[in-house]
């Protein structure tokens, strides 16, 4: 059973990473900086719990706030550029963060052992969960509570004016500006929110794997971060969750028995999925419950029948 709880943890953490990119993508911006925010989120609470004995909850909240703060600072200059230039700018930021941790050595003595980031060798012994009696299922429940809170917040935001503003900017910047929206504020706001979510995800990730190193937070992770919402569709927060389930649950874990062929099939299935569902698995618009239940179909049929009559 622990295996499934462990898998649920991976899916939960990657969902947070994907949601961090989802918020930014709503404004039409492609950010490759999410892996950098995730890294900041991983190292910050790792240091707080392993080096200074802080509780996990304030540690990950602080991680989220630190990442959000840095995302806000990065957002101002980075979001002055658009499209491919933004991709390059955010990619550069992500690499900068990775290389910062590649070179960061800061260790303190705790219980007779040196604990803390040790450059390229990484940051070992972030063992808050097992050391404090958390069973695997406790950790899983904790992660999914965080995921549920974040998803609920984004779902609510999507249905509020804030969501409409983000989507307006994402669909047509000029039109959005012409109705008085402050593009910089909207984009930086989205980047900050994305940074906060990535920070939460990174903080939890560090504690589930107990050891982090710079190499994890590279371009591949940044690509995954934006791949989740794009593959899942930007119509709803659930698209990201579906995409993470598809990639982490099915392509990576489900196909493990295929050995070497897995990596090949991995790419092929993503290409296939994007061809069959070019706007994402759940599409650009959130499916409504009545659509899923087929209620709309019956109504249409009735109208058509009436017209025929």
């Amino acid at each position: 059973m622990d295996f499934y709880f462990g898998l649920a943890q991976i899916i939960g953490v990657h969902t947070l990473l994907g949601l961090s990119a989802y918020v930014v993508l709503l404004t039409g911006q492609v950010s490759m900086a999410q892996a950098g925010f995730y890294a900041i989120g991983a190292y910050t609470p790792g240091a707080m719990t392993a080096m200074f004995g802080l509780h996990i909850l304030p540690a990950i909240v602080i991680a989220g706030l630190v990442s959000a703060g840095i995302a806000c600072i990065v957002g101002f200059p980075a979001l002055r550029v658009k499209g491919l230039m933004l991709v390059v700018a955010t990619l550069a930021f992500g690499e900068m963060v990775r290389l910062f941790f590649f070179n960061l050595t800061w260790q303190v003595e705790r219980n007779g052992e040196l604990v803390g980031p040790n450059g390229a060798e990484g940051f070992r012994a972030i063992r808050y969960f097992p050391q404090n009696g958390w069973e695997v299922w406790h950790v899983t429940v904790f992660i999914w509570i965080v995921v549920a809170v974040v998803m609920a917040a984004l779902w609510w935001m999507d249905r509020s004016r804030a969501g409409a503003v983000l989507r307006a900017v994402g669909h047509d910047e000029i039109a959005a500006q012409s109705i008085g929206l402050n593009l910089t504020a909207v984009k930086v706001g989205a980047m900050t929110a994305g940074g906060f979510i990535a920070g939460l995800g990174g903080g939890i990730y560090a504690h589930t794997v107990t050891h982090i190193e710079h190499g994890v937070f590279g371009v591949l992770l940044a690509t995954f971060a934006i791949a989740y919402p794009i593959l899942g569709g930007l119509g709803t927060v659930f698209g990201t969750l579906i995409a993470v389930l598809f990639i982490q649950g099915f392509l990576i874990e489900g196909l493990r028995f295929m050995g070497d062929w897995r990596s090949l099939l991995f790419g092929a299935l993503i290409v296939l999925a994007m061809n069959l569902r070019p706007t994402g698995l759940l599409g650009e618009h959130a499916p409504r419950m009545k659509h899923l239940l087929g209620l709309r179909g019956r109504k249409t049929e009735t109208l058509e029948s009436k017209e025929a009559n």
Binding site: I10, R124, Q131, V209, D260, R262
Partner: protein
């Protein structure tokens, strides 16, 4: 007619059941699972490890398998999981293995997977306050020093690089007293290669009187080494030590050849004493000297290497450890009184852990391996050098 049919069917059923019961009694199995990177850039380590495990268990099974607590024999069944050298996947794979009836796992291959993986295991046995996974892991390949100390559920049969390089540089000092300087080249972003240069090679060289006149760094995915080689050429070192895996070792060696850098002695990383280096750059690697815990220097080692080749792999210091692990586990299972039932699974795992912890020596292909209290091993080793498209034993320190 109807009665006859019923009797025939009943007889058939009873005999089938009897046959099945007999077969089940004969087919007792013990599951030992391997895992590591068997795809991707470093996939060759897992492929070789998997082949070595398969070959070793096949040999054990041909000889009757293992003896359980009730005196019955059981065959060992094995399979190999690919973790793609990814920490998250490695943890997931180990949790998956622990959720089956596997008694022990052999792996992983990558040190960057080993560190987090060992971190999720219970650090101290019987520590009620530590909810880490309680499952024995017997590592064959991940070689970065000092990792077994992370958890008491971890045991490693990887050679001690500190001992081997200290001995190698002492031997170079003895055989080449005129050499004074050394230049290091390190694959900076790989845990093992980085650790081995900064913590092992460099310290061993300095301890044996060599002056480090420079260092060049590159990354695992780098393909251009001209700047690094230029710095090396300017320093004119007597000895060059390259702490990198075969892919970039070959890249650097080619660039050194192009820039006509010819040190008197060339030292390589343990993991590069493999077929990949020879097939990648045999000419440029000529003379590359590496300490290794495997070379086909005796009949047992030769036969083991042939068995692994027959399974589609290659025997090197890493896959040799996988082979040795299989035989060490056979002896441990035979001695520990393993019951091999579903009910005794947790207890059997604990018995294997305790038995591994109690070992002070274990048989290896080059001689007896010393088992250290922290779960690490000190293994016999030889110095090999690349010569004529192959590895040749240059010196046997024990001789």
């Amino acid at each position: 007619m109807k009665l006859k049919s019923l009797l025939a069917a009943g007889l058939l059923g009873v005999s089938t059941l009897a046959l099945a019961t007999a077969a089940a009694a004969q087919d007792k199995t013990i599951r030992i699972v391997g895992f590591g990177a068997s795809s991707g850039v470093v996939g060759i380590f897992g492929q070789n490890s998997s082949a070595a495990m398969q070959a070793a268990f096949e040999k054990i099974n041909e000889a009757g398998g293992v003896t359980l607590a009730d005196g019955s024999q059981a065959k060992i069944v094995t399979e190999y999981y690919d973790d793609r050298c990814n920490a998250e996947e490695g943890i997931s794979v180990l949790r998956r293995i622990a959720s089956t009836d596997a008694l022990v796992a052999i792996g992983p291959t990558c040190s960057n997977v080993a560190e987090p993986l060992f971190g999720i295991l219970q650090a101290k046995v019987d520590d009620g306050g530590d909810t880490g996974l309680q499952f024995p892991v017997f590592t064959d390949v991940a070689i970065k020093g000092g990792l077994a100390g992370i958890s008491e559920w971890v045991f490693r049969n990887t050679p001690s690089e500190a001992t081997m390089y200290d001995s190698l540089f002492a031997w170079i000092r003895q055989t080449h007293p005129e050499l004074k300087t050394i230049y290091g080249g390190v694959e900076e972003d790989f845990a093992h290669s980085r650790f081995t240069w900064y913590e092992v090679m460099k310290k061993a060289a300095e301890a044996n009187g060599f002056e480090v006149v420079g260092e060049a760094q590159w990354l695992l995915s780098d393909t251009n080494f001209s700047n690094q080689a230029r710095g090396m050429r300017r320093a004119e070192p007597n000895v060059v030590a390259i702490s990198a895996h075969p892919f970039t070792t070959c890249g650097m060696l080619r660039e050194m050849a192009r820039q006509k850098i010819e040190p008197e002695v060339l030292v390589g990383l343990t993991s590069s004493s493999s077929l990949e280096t020879i097939s990648g750059c045999a000419a440029e690697a000529q003379g590359l000297t590496i300490p290794t815990s495997f070379a086909p220097v005796n009949q047992e080692a030769i036969e083991a290497a042939e068995a692994v080749v027959a399974k589609g792999g290659q025997m090197d210091l890493h896959s040799a450890s996988a082979w040795e692990n299989a035989f060490i586990l056979r002896d441990v299972i035979n001695a520990a009184g393993i019951e091999g039932t579903a009910e005794s699974l947790e207890e059997d795992r604990r018995k294997i852990r305790d038995a591994l912890a109690q070992l002070t020596e274990a048989p290896g292909l080059l001689g007896q391996n010393k088992r250290m209290p922290d779960g690490e091993a000190v293994k016999p080793y030889v110095f090999v050098h690349a010569k004529d498209k192959g590895w040749e034993v240059l010196h046997e320190p024990s001789s």
